[in-house]
């Protein structure tokens, strides 16, 4: 069964550094998403991406964040100038044409900012 994959599983970085989290969505899916879960808190929507552009974003997704689909298979989240409060589990998800709310999630990347 096709799955969403994410790399790395755990990323440790110093405050102020840039990180790129990578995702490979399910191959025939058209909608892509990033969510995050700060330890002990709810899973929060960050951004959705469709047809090579951002279709919706939350208040959290400010200029510090960007997303890109550099090729036909990868979907990345870049966080510039990381802060301590960016430490969280970041989940990538994808969904098929016609059912954007039926989202399939990857295993997550745990980001630790020191």
């Amino acid at each position: 069964e096709p799955e969403v994959t994410q790399t790395p599983s755990h990323q440790v970085t110093q405050m102020g550094q840039e990180v790129i989290l990578r995702c490979v969505p399910i191959s025939n899916h058209l909608y892509f998403y990033w969510y995050r879960q700060i330890l002990g808190q709810k899973v929060e929507f960050l951004v959705s991406f469709y047809n090579n552009e951002i279709s919706e974003k939350s208040e959290i997704f400010d200029d510090q964040f960007s997303v890109e689909r550099p090729d036909g298979s990868n979907f990345t989240l870049k966080i510039r100038s990381t802060k301590l409060e960016d430490s969280a589990m970041y989940f990538c998800a994808s969904s098929p044409a016609g059912a954007p709310d039926t989202q399939y999630f990857g295993p997550g990347t745990r980001l630790t900012v020191l």
């Binding site: 994410q6 998403y33 939350s58 709310d101 999630f105």
Partner: protein, 115 residues
């Protein structure tokens, strides 16, 4: 805005006994509702989805959920718990109020299954 409330942060059951995980939703529009499960160190797995076709929705691993508009509830049930069901369960809503692409998660219910 749409939201979900999971009424229990933890539920403990014995193996072989029924499971009930409670969820209430708030929505100005007809919502789509989901249950996701997260096993330790694993991603979020879709258990089932309600989209108004039928009020009783069957999911994977023997789970089902019933949409009750009069009670604004979408409780998750399973007749007989298995040790492998121990995990965190999330009730989720999407729909016109949030934008169909944005899922809004509840706080989660941790299911503990004892032998």
């Amino acid at each position: 805005a749409q939201s979900v409330t999971q009424l229990d942060s933890h539920v403990s059951v014995s193996e072989g006994t029924p499971v009930l995980l409670r969820c209430n939703y708030s929505s100005s529009y007809s919502p789509s509702l989901f249950w996701y499960v997260q096993h330790p160190n694993k991603g979020l797995q879709l258990l089932l989805k309600y989209t108004s076709a039928a009020t009783l929705v069957k999911g994977i691993n023997g789970f089902e959920a019933e949409f009750k508009k009069s009670e604004t509830s979408f409780h998750l049930t399973k007749p007989s718990a298995h040790m492998s069901d121990a995990a965190e369960y999330f009730c989720v809503v999407s729909g016109r109020g949030t934008g169909f692409q944005k899922l809004v998660f509840g706080t989660g219910t941790r299911l503990l299954v004892s032998p």
